[in-house]
């Protein structure tokens, strides 16, 4: 916690000036490994499976970038970060990109000097309470004890929500989401608050999910997305367009199954440009022509990644909702590959 902050500060101090923040793409390729910051474990989003291999919705973004840049979706050093350590880890260069349910906010983008490359999940903050508490709305929570993961935007939203509703509460701050759940289960707090996607994930992993209810209120906008440091636009472009490639692939109907067939060349020019049989988009990024094909090959397009990790067929059971592609009335939209 504190130690890693200090270590990161010392790392910044010790880096040779000037050369530290440019050429991340070259650094990654020379190293042969992508350092990707993920959370310490949110089911469905980023968690090591039974074999210790990181899996999840956010992890899939890391794997796609690694496949595009290094042609190896396993050439990744996953760095678990807490809400507190993630930004120092990114700013100090300990990680090349952060894919960790991080909310895109003004101050993080502008003041902390980060570059959010897009949104891979549109979320909102919610509350979870035990069903036998008899609470049906977050506006009935006056005087409640609330477990909250410290160092997140949820902490500020929580303060705002209770203040604007003229209610009092008692915060119980904890370091990680799992600790928050432990406290919540032990009864140290009445409600647990975080992004609704994470609430659904936590609830799915509880012994009796039916004993817990997610309250209907959404108290904030939480656009979650991967981010990189300011000042290396080329690297930012690589991550941004890898994410966009996944989204565009869903829109164009390119799946893991038909990828090989499609990449031979079709009569859809945008698909050809995406998969590299036409045009020089890969070259412009500083990669080869098949970068996007490799990124999609790892775990499919955006829709497939969603379904396999957090979709309704999994035990997390999130509906696409606002995260449907724009042609289905959702918000998931990629600029054109042209």
């Amino acid at each position: 916690m504190k130690k890693s902050v200090i270590i990161s500060a010392v790392t910044i101090a010790g880096l040779t000036a000037g050369a530290a923040f440019a050429g991340t793409l070259d650094d990654v390729q020379a190293r042969g490994k992508l350092n990707c910051g993920v959370s310490t474990g949110v089911p469905g989003f980023a968690e090591p499976d039974a074999n210790g291999v990181w899996q999840g919705f956010d992890v899939a973004v890391c794997r796609a970038v690694a496949a595009a840049v290094l042609n190896d979706s396993d050439a990744i050093e996953f760095v678990p970060t807490t809400g507190k350590t993630r930004f120092t880890a990114l700013a100090s260069g300990e990680i090349d990109m952060l894919a960790r349910n991080t909310t895109w906010t003004f101050s993080r983008d502008v003041d902390l000097k980060f570059e959010f490359v897009g949104v891979n999940y549109y979320d909102g903050q919610g509350f979870m309470a035990k069903a036998d508490l008899g609470v049906s709305s977050a506006t009935e929570l006056d005087g409640a004890t609330v477990c909250i993961q410290t160092g997140t935007t949820t902490e500020l939203n929580l303060a705002d929500f209770f203040r604007s509703n003229n209610m009092s509460y008692e915060p119980v701050p904890v370091e990680t989401g799992s600790e928050a759940v432990t406290n919540y289960m032990a009864g140290a707090c009445d409600v647990f608050t975080t992004d609704r996607s994470a609430l659904a994930a936590r609830r799915a992993n509880m012994e009796n999910p039916d004993e817990h209810v997610v309250l209907p209120e959404i108290v904030s906008k939480e656009p979650l997305g991967p981010l990189v440091r300011h000042g290396d636009n080329n690297w930012g472009d690589v991550v941004r367009w890898t994410l966009n490639a996944l989204i565009t692939a869903e829109e164009l109907g390119v799946t893991q199954a038909n990828l090989d067939e499609m990449s031979k060349g079709t009569n859809n020019p945008e698909m050809n440009r995406l998969l590299g049989s036409e045009g020089t988009l890969g070259e412009m990024l500083g990669l080869d022509a098949e970068w996007a094909k490799r990124a999609i090959a790892v775990s499919g397009n955006y829709g497939e990644i969603f379904e396999n990790n957090i979709g309704e067929s999994t035990n997390i059971g999130l509906a696409r909702g606002v995260n449907a592609k724009w042609t289905d009335g959702g918000l998931i939209y990629s600029p054109p590959f042209r």
Partner: protein, 404 residues
């Protein structure tokens, strides 16, 4: 060897910086300092250049901005509209509170266990040995977590106090022990309570004055006055008389179960209690060893001589052994007090909002000012540690063997 030769030897020459024992150490220290300063300057310069390259700067202006977050335990007025500076002060006070309580409790545990470990009773001595060995050989963070989970698991939650046939009940309708902390009655000061408090303070002064008078009487006239019961009387009677004469100006506010939690009274949070208990029981084990060493450092002849004079065992301990043992005990005790203060930064493990949790945690995170916040934190711990050292050194000097 004549005088001119001696004079030449004393005359300073450059080669003496390396060859002469008197100057050599200064030379080395000077070079070490020089290298240290260069290293720091190099790191500092790099830091500033890297920050500039990343478009960042060192600025403390964030301290004046609204913090935007809430803190559960606050000893001064604070809400989410207060500044980061005020949030830091809330954290400082919380650190000082747990450090202060921890030092007192650790001294109590340590002295008790240290003395009992030398007991002639085999069971008591062995029990204390087990306590010391278990607690000082497991990291304090583990103890904090264990004690906190035990606290959470074994005490009933406020919910258990509700309903017709509650699973848990309040002690005398005044004390509630829950997994979220202890709720105890809070004194409410009405009109006239100031008078009661002043009387109370005066009677404490009175007790000391009376004891001083009794001692003077003993030394000058050899008369032994009865002190114990007179002290008790001076301590209690005037305050109680004034209290009832003014018509109970100080009343108690009892905690009551309202909504989700108990309201009213004093809420000693579970995080404070488990952190406090863990820090003091852990450090107490170290202090016990120091106390034992201190007592054993006093020559056995001292206690035998005191026994020969007819002193009772507790007098021997209090008047003969402990005062001499303190000279050995106090210096290491200082470093244990410092350890408690510094170890209190593990508070976040149980969600206690100390300075590391507010300034070094949430503020650091929300503003992204890691270097500034960590520098401030270091400065704070340094100032606190040096102050504790200074105070304890004054005490140490007062009990040191006076050479006349």
């Amino acid at each position: 060897m004549n005088t001119s030769e001696l004079a030449r030897r004393d005359k300073f020459q450059f080669s003496m910086l390396l060859n002469d024992k008197r100057y050599r150490s200064y030379t080395f220290q000077f070079f070490a300092l020089f290298i240290l300063i260069c290293a720091m300057a190099y790191l500092g310069k790099n830091l500033l250049e890297n920050l500039a390259a990343a478009g960042l700067n060192i600025s403390y202006s964030f301290l004046g901005e609204p913090s935007g977050y809430d803190i559960n335990q606050r000893l001064i007025e604070y809400n989410s509209q207060s500044t980061h500076l005020r949030a830091s002060i809330v954290g400082v006070l919380n650190t000082l509170l747990v450090a202060f309580l921890g030092c007192i409790a650790a001294t109590f545990f340590g002295v008790t266990a240290g003395i009992l470990r030398l007991s002639n009773n085999w069971i008591v001595a062995k029990l204390m040995m087990i306590y010391v060995e278990i607690f000082r050989n497991v990291p304090v963070l583990i103890w904090i977590l264990i004690i906190h989970s035990v606290f959470l698991a074994f005490l009933p939650q406020p919910k258990a106090f509700r309903g017709e046939n509650p699973e848990a009940t309040m002690l005398w309708d005044a004390f509630a022990f829950t997994g979220r902390g202890f709720y105890i009655p809070k004194p409410v000061f009405n009109d006239g309570s100031l008078l009661v408090i002043i009387t109370f303070i005066l009677s404490i002064v009175g007790v000391f004055a009376f004891r001083y008078y009794a001692r003077q009487k003993l030394y000058s006239e050899g008369k032994l006055l009865e002190t114990r019961w007179t002290s008790v009387a001076i301590f209690f009677i005037p305050t109680i008389l004034i209290y009832f004469a003014l018509g109970n100006p100080i009343t108690l506010e009892y905690p009551e179960l309202k909504g989700f939690n108990f309201k009213g009274g004093i809420h000693a949070r579970g995080s404070l209690i488990s952190l406090w208990f863990a820090l003091s029981i852990y450090t107490g084990a170290f202090i016990a060893e120091v106390v034992r060493a201190g007592i054993q450092s006093v020559d056995k002849g001292q206690s035998e001589a005191a026994g020969a004079l007819g002193m009772r065992p507790n007098f021997i301990m209090n008047l003969v052994i402990l005062p001499q043992a303190l000279r050995v005990i106090v210096p290491p005790l200082i470093s244990f007090y410092l350890n408690i203060t510094k170890n209190s930064s593990l508070a976040l493990a149980v969600g206690y909002m100390d300075i590391t949790g507010t300034l070094g945690g949430i503020t650091l995170n929300q503003t992204g000012r890691a270097i500034e916040a960590v520098l401030l934190l270091m400065l704070f711990y340094l100032v606190i540690s040096l102050s504790i050292s200074a105070i304890m050194n004054v005490y140490n000097r007062s009990i040191m063997l006076k050479e006349r």
